[in-house]
């Protein structure tokens, strides 16, 4: 295997040791960071030995791949969300969305079609919308629909299922339906105290520039950490789950639907790629594949970690199971009618 043996790029600027003004202070984070990186460089040959087995290597490859693939979209979403938080006045959303939440939900769900990206971008944007005073029900409908109904993802679906335009239509309708249903459900049953508004004040900083870059920094560090957590879980499950259980599951329709729903959660695929994986699961019925395509962009391990980070654990623990149940139901209903 090829190894990049050179020193970590940019080794210089991180050595911001303890500042001379506070000589007696306890360990501070730049120092810990420097020590951690130095230790890792010193111990790299035993670490490589540990990671040398094929199983560990494929785990690492998948882990790095999920992170590297998602980071650009996370950065895109964070830039958008910081721009919304800093430059778009709250009054804009009050005017753009219908006043009645029941109407605002489907409008926000359809607005998801304009965010060209996958689910990593939609979490920070939805967080910014809530902070900007958009009713949570509408922001959540946007959060759920954006990764599945935008043109990039629908085109990928059409390419993966050539000659089956009904799959694209079914994915679009089912995702929109479930997103709106979740929005309305939140409006009826949701309680404001489940939603922990993001801890940082959006307008710290003297200038708009400072507030903007502050928001970008905070969101990348915060959502990025949760992204890594989700990537760890996804890589572990991909390595641990034996692949042949899928073959046994394809036999009965009910088990097939539940198996692909669970697989969508565990694999945490990017919504731009999941259609190709669904298409390759040839043993499964179209409805089961549709379930895979609807559940994946709405709730998976990576998304759960990011939602818990952005909206709070109390929210994610309630929101995720409800989304899962509604997504499976909505996809099965749509699949029965259309496919």
């Amino acid at each position: 295997m090829a190894i990049t043996d050179d020193a970590p790029p940019g080794a210089g600027p991180r050595r911001t040791g303890p500042s001379p003004d506070h000589p007696g202070r306890r360990l501070n984070s730049p120092l810990v960071l420097t020590l951690a990186l130095l230790l890792a460089v010193l111990a790299q040959s035993p670490i490589r030995g540990l990671l040398g087995t094929p199983a560990m290597q494929s785990w690492m490859t998948v882990f790095v791949a999920v992170t590297v693939q998602a980071l650009p979209f996370l950065v895109l979403g964070v830039l958008l969300s910081a721009a919304i938080a800093v430059f778009v006045p709250a009054s804009f959303f009050a005017r753009a969305l219908p006043r009645r939440p029941a109407l605002a939900v489907p409008v926000a769900g359809l607005a998801g079609a304009v965010l060209p990206g996958c689910e990593c971008a939609s979490v920070p944007v939805a967080g910014a919308l809530v902070r900007r005073g958009v009713t949570p029900a509408a922001a959540l409908a946007f959060l759920l629909s954006a990764p599945a109904v935008n043109p990039v993802v629908l085109t990928a679906t059409a390419v993966a299922f050539p000659g089956q335009p009904e799959m694209v239509l079914a994915r679009f309708l089912a995702s929109l339906l479930v997103a709106c249903a979740m929005g309305w459900l939140w409006q009826r049953l949701g309680r404001a105290d489940w939603l922990r508004p993001p801890a940082h004040g959006t307008h710290e900083g003297a200038t708009k520039g400072e507030a903007f870059w502050g928001a970008v920094r905070h969101d990348v560090m915060h959502a990025g950490g949760f992204l890594v957590l989700g990537a760890t879980a996804a890589a572990t499950l991909k390595a641990a789950v034996p692949a042949d259980w899928l073959r046994t599951a394809a036999g009965s329709p009910l088990v097939a639907v539940l198996a692909l729903a669970a697989l969508a959660v565990l694999l945490s695929l990017c919504s731009e790629a999941d259609a190709f994986v669904a298409a390759s699961l040839t043993a499964f019925s179209p409805t089961a594949k549709l379930v895979f395509l609807v559940v994946g962009p709405m709730i998976d391990l990576k998304l759960f970690a990011m939602q818990a980070g952005t909206f709070g654990r109390a929210f994610a623990l309630r929101f995720a199971p409800a989304t899962f149940a509604l997504a499976v139901t909505g996809a099965v209903l749509t699949g029965t009618v259309l496919l």
């Binding site: 090829a2 960071l33 882990f63 791949a65 590297v68 980071l71 560090m221 890594v228 042949d244 190709f276």
Partner: protein
């Protein structure tokens, strides 16, 4: 993690993305098309690091105190950073290929064979012509395919190419079983250029029951791993 440390992590992360995108390293993990996005996001991360350090200095001058404990979960960002910088894990190989079922699918049409003798074909092209067309579109001509070796538990050799759509997490193997004139020592994960002819023999993948056609090998040649270890063409 305070803001100085956050700036350092952001900078290193951006530099690692730029490094991966500027070299061919990123091809081990994601598709080619993601390169501009990788480079752009690397640049944004570095800009964020610079802006953080800049505003932090001004704030220091203004007030002097800076106690901003950042989110603790941020420390996790060191994991992919260290993995990328220190070990740069290789592209998925025979281990994953044997754990995953072949992803071969029936194509819609068979294009004309490329010129050349033997005919240069990808693993996917040969496998689909052999498995779904009974080799008719090959017209009995010898073919040349390139892929890496995987040996199953009984030691039977397969020539594999991983097909990828977005990132390595969705990579799936397409396998061709090898028979005929093979070198005496076979090493898993070694890249081989195999010349051979169609044979009607077909086996089933034990993982997903997918079809694995055979190729009757007449000669082999060890080759370098290609620049992009994954096959990104098969369904785009």
């Amino acid at each position: 993690m305070n803001r100085q440390a956050q700036a350092a992590v952001l900078f290193l992360l951006g530099a690692a993305l730029l490094h991966a995108g500027a070299t061919d390293l990123y091809l081990r993990y994601v598709k080619t098309g993601l390169r501009p996005l990788l480079l752009a996001s690397g640049a944004v991360l570095i800009a964020t690091a610079v802006a953080t350090a800049w505003y932090e200095r001004r704030r220091d001058r203004r007030s002097g105190s800076h106690e901003h404990p950042g989110p603790r979960v941020s420390w996790l960002l060191l994991l992919p950073l260290l993995a990328l910088i220190l070990s740069a894990p290789p592209a998925l190989g025979s281990y994953s290929a044997l754990r995953t079922g072949t992803a071969l699918q029936k194509p819609y049409a068979y294009g004309p064979l490329p010129a050349g003798d033997p005919v240069p074909l990808s693993v996917v092209e040969y496998a689909s012509r052999a498995a779904y067309d009974h080799g008719r579109s090959l017209h009995g001509r010898p073919v040349r395919v390139t892929g890496f070796l995987a040996l199953d538990r009984s030691g039977a050799p397969y020539l594999v190419r991983m097909a990828l759509n977005c990132c390595a997490a969705d990579a799936q193997p397409v396998k061709v079983a090898l028979t005929g004139d093979l070198p005496p020592v076979l090493r898993p994960d070694a890249w081989l250029e195999v010349t051979g002819t169609y044979t009607p023999r077909l086996t089933r993948d034990p993982v997903n029951d997918g079809p694995i056609p055979y190729l009757k090998v007449t000669s082999t040649r060890p080759v370098q791993a290609p620049r992009d270890p994954y096959d990104e063409t098969w369904n785009n």
